[in-house]
Symmetry: C2
Subunit: 132 residues, 2 copies
């Protein structure tokens, strides 16, 4: 299997709880919990509530990022979970959020980002490492 720097999970969460999707504090809390759940280390984050409805937010983690956009009026959230390194599992964040948002139906695709052979680096190259 081709080695890559990152794994990127693109998820569509349908039939979610409208009230949670519209609550920026709750979404920020759940996204941060999901990041931790996956094994990631939070570096910085930004969340915004739109009017009349909807929340957008992103968390930079040492191992890449998580991002969400919600459409409460359609009970829909689009979710990105992008992680690097072997110590983090993006699916753990996905399962946590699917439950937390009460999503009844989901679609997910996982992509490799930064495939070593395509970049042109040896298979034993290092992932990005936070040292301070």
């Amino acid at each position: 299997m081709a080695k890559s720097l990152g794994r990127h999970l693109i998820s569509e969460l349908y039939d979610c709880d409208e009230e949670i999707l519209n609550d920026v504090q709750q979404i920020e809390y759940l996204m941060k919990k999901a990041a931790i759940e996956s094994g990631a280390t939070i570096v910085t984050s930004t969340f915004h509530r739109f009017l009349p409805h909807g929340v957008s937010g992103a968390i930079i983690v040492s191992e890449s990022h998580l991002a969400i956009h919600t459409w409460p009026e359609y009970n829909y959230a689009s979710l990105d979970i992008y992680t690097c390194g072997d110590s983090v599992d993006p699916w753990k964040a996905f399962y946590y959020l699917k439950d937390a948002l009460n999503s009844k139906r989901q679609e997910s695709q996982e992509f490799k980002r930064g495939v070593f052979s395509t970049i042109g680096i040896p298979e034993n190259s290092l992932h990005k490492v936070e040292v301070s």
Copy 2:
């Protein structure tokens, strides 16, 4: 063609300028310029420089988000440009950044996010709109 809330461009930028990829202020500036270039409105952003090298950052725009992770040591950057609505063109941000980072080789895939028929909403449903 199936209507969707968003368009998500996933791009791999290879053979980029190492120095630019490692300059957090420059990356933040170029990402913001790219967002504006695409027609998006910047809401909030966060960027971080990793040690010993690399930059990660995300910009929340009214029309969704842009995110980047750079590996200067591999001359590689992974780029996400996710836009909603008809007034924004994610490809304009892509072309701007590919040139700005001096990338000699790229791979891009465009995905639909939040397909109306899969969410279960009418084809004439509205995108998220910022009203304040």
